[in-house]
């Protein structure tokens, strides 16, 4: 969908310039045509045991025409809606409303989340998807510390997720540790990995920082893949123990003591574990959220934000940028590690396959789409990114196309993310003085 680039900022503020709109749409359609020829124009089919090429010119034509008409329509709508400035102001007001009343939205959302398994909606599939959403919410909140608050673009966040997951899996395998004992260890190890990454990149910024973090993510994955004696390489680790509820296992029978269902005298159901996992990640995610909200108001949290804004000014104010960056990396990584442990115990099986770059990209997309630094925005974005492809399942092969279109849509109408209003962390003499509209 490289047509986004041309959709961008050129929409005219005043009237509708047909000639120019046609020209732009033509250009977009041309780019689309070039892409569609190899992507949709050919199909490999099996014919009598041999592979043959099937030509599908109609698909190329349909796609190109769709881009042409769509581009024209977007430009037309924009021209009709008047100056884009106003549209953005309205969006800003909405985002601001959300952020200012974040506490209530957050509470309502948390309440809904707590009740979900007991509502008529709460079947196994929904709870399962919700668990995945919450993993990404937690990862998003963790990465938000590094990217959203401290402004350090991290493309290798999945590395800490992997460190957390493998820490638990390996400690369980070699030392028989349970989930609850391994969780803090996984967090600490991930935090150490965060500091290890932090040191070499202290002096880097922007693109260079992004490249090194990207490399770091790959290094961890490649090590996991090749260190066969320890990590079992591409075969992964299976039989990772499930978490227990204060020592009670979620099984029909347990050789070592009571199970959850026996203890509470209810009939065994495999759904119990699914729901328990859901609550587990919900609580972990809420702890993450609480932590980030608190720390934003502490000097260290403000120092992160100040560092994102202006590093030289930070130095002039007596802030030690080294420590500030390292704590951001370490704490962000720690939450990644917690989420990784949860992932391992939920899946029961992990392999390097689960920790590819696409995961980092997805988490980063959640943070950026949510509006950098906005907690509720991140939660919304995680919901969108995980649930959209699920909703699209009926559309089969068009599912990713819908997903892509939705992403393009968000970037066109919400270029600064879903909720890009930043709530100030300090107040004096109550609210209301000298406030101004958000950008």
């Amino acid at each position: 969908m490289s047509t986004v680039a041309t959709v961008g900022p050129r929409a005219t503020a005043g009237g509708f310039d047909l000639a120019r709109a046609l020209k732009e749409a033509g250009l977009a359609a041309f780019v689309a045509f070039v892409l569609f020829v190899p992507l949709a124009g050919f199909k490999l089919v099996g014919q009598e045991g041999q592979l043959a090429l099937e030509y599908r010119p109609h698909w190329v034509l349909i796609g190109t025409a769709a881009v042409f008409v769509g581009h024209l329509a977007i430009n037309f709508i924009r021209a009709m809606r008047g100056p884009s400035q106003r549209a953005r102001g309205e969006a800003g007001a909405m985002a601001r409303f959300f952020t200012v009343h974040a506490r209530w939205f957050g509470l309502a959302a948390a309440l809904l989340a707590f009740l979900l398994p007991f509502t008529p909606l709460g079947n196994r599939y929904v709870v399962d998807v919700a668990t995945t959403v919450l993993i990404y919410v937690m990862l998003g909140w963790g990465l938000n510390i590094v990217v959203g608050l401290a402004g350090l673009l991290d493309l290798g966040y999945v590395a800490f997720y992997a460190v957390g997951a493998y820490s638990y899996a390996l400690f369980a395998q070699w030392f028989g540790l349970g989930f609850w004992e391994a969780l803090p260890i996984a967090g600490v190890l991930a935090a150490i990995a965060g500091i290890l990454l932090g040191f070499p990149v202290l002096r880097l910024r922007g693109d260079y920082l992004a490249i090194v973090t990207l490399g770091f993510g790959e290094i961890i994955r490649v090590v996991l893949l090749n260190w066969y004696d320890v990590t079992n390489g591409p075969d992964g680790i299976s039989g990772i123990p499930r978490p227990t509820f204060f020592g009670l296992e979620f099984k029909r029978y347990s050789p070592d003591g009571m199970t959850f269902s026996q203890f509470f005298g209810i009939e065994y159901s495999s759904l119990h574990r699914v729901i328990f996992l859901y609550y587990l990640i919900l609580i972990l995610a809420l702890i993450t959220n609480w932590f980030v909200l608190r720390i934003r108001r502490l000097p260290i949290g403000r120092a992160w934000e100040a560092l994102r804004e202006d590093e030289i000014a930070c130095k002039a104010l007596g802030i030690n940028p080294t420590n500030t960056k390292l704590t951001a990396f370490a704490l962000g990584a720690m939450f990644g590690g917690f989420a990784g442990s949860f992932f391992a115990t939920r899946q029961g099986f992990i392999s390097p396959e689960s920790f590819t770059f696409i995961e980092s990209a997805t988490i980063l997309a959640i943070v950026v789409l949510g509006g950098m630094g906005s907690q509720i925005g991140v939660a919304l974005a995680a919901l969108v990114i995980v649930v959209l492809p699920e909703l699209g399942r009926e559309f089969e092969q068009f599912r990713m196309l819908l997903f892509g279109a939705a992403m393009v849509g968000i970037m066109v109408w919400r270029p600064r993310g879903l909720l890009a209003f930043r709530e100030p962390t300090v107040r004096l003499h109550g609210r209301g003085q000298g406030e101004e509209a958000p950008r």
Binding site: A316, G318, P424, V426, L428, G434, R439
Partner: protein, 236 residues
């Protein structure tokens, strides 16, 4: 209070400071004037430890601070309002001020904020406005106010008049004098606006291509024909 002895600073192979010696005594306003590229900002930055002096000594109340990291120097009571203001644009006025108080653990925050507002009432009106939306003059007030929040012993100001309208320049300079008089705060002021700076300064140094070429009291320098020819004639 501050002694700079024969300080050299290099950017790679380029020698930006070629042995600068100067002194700031307690309670003084000392100004450094000079043309673009004379090394004024480099001198202030070197006092703050970034970049480090490649030779020479810098002492603060007798303590050698030449090799300390920037944040350690700031913690010892040197506040720096850097060139170009460098306020935090997405943070509110109040948050910017709070950042200034980070060094002293924000223990006198409320009290000091009131003092800054007494000095710059305009900032109080803009309390919860984001720094980036302030006007240039207000941003400069914020930059000075933020530096004051640290309760410094020595305040370094880098071109506070840069890009400001004349009446705002007056206002800023009045505030600088006020800070110096009422609190006895020692101030080292780097300026291109030589006329204004020399008028309020007790003493001044003229810097040219990395060296001190002239020094004296503010009044002496104002009257000096060389200074007049180089920095004062042709408008101020």
């Amino acid at each position: 209070m501050l002694e700079v002895q024969d300080v050299h600073t290099h950017y790679g192979h380029i020698e930006a400071l070629k042995g600068v010696t100067l002194e700031v005594r307690r309670g003084e306003i000392v100004t450094i004037i000079g043309a673009n590229g004379a090394g004024k900002t480099t001198l202030l930055m070197t006092i703050c430890g970034d970049p480090r002096a490649s030779a020479g000594r810098i002492r603060l109340d007798g303590e050698d601070i030449t090799h300390l990291p920037t944040w350690e120097i700031v913690r010892r009571g040197v506040a720096h309002a850097p060139e170009g203001r460098r306020i935090f644009p997405r943070m509110t006025v109040l948050e910017n001020l709070k950042m200034g108080a980070t060094v002293n653990g924000e223990q006198w925050f409320e009290e000091d904020v009131e003092q800054v507002f007494a000095l710059f009432p305009r900032l109080k009106e803009r309390l919860h406005q984001r720094g980036g939306t302030l006007s240039g003059g207000e941003q400069q007030m914020l930059a000075i106010g933020r530096a004051l929040m640290a309760r410094p012993r020595l305040l370094l100001l880098d071109e506070p008049s840069l890009g400001l309208a004349p009446n705002l320049v007056q206002q800023i300079f009045r505030a600088i004098v006020e800070i110096n008089r009422s609190r006895g705060l020692t101030i080292l002021l780097v300026e291109q606006n030589a006329f204004q700076a020399l008028r309020i300064a007790h003493r001044g140094y003229v810097l040219a291509t990395g060296e001190v070429v002239l020094q004296g009291t503010g009044r002496e320098l104002l009257a000096n024909p060389e200074v007049r020819a180089a920095y004062l004639e042709g408008g101020h």
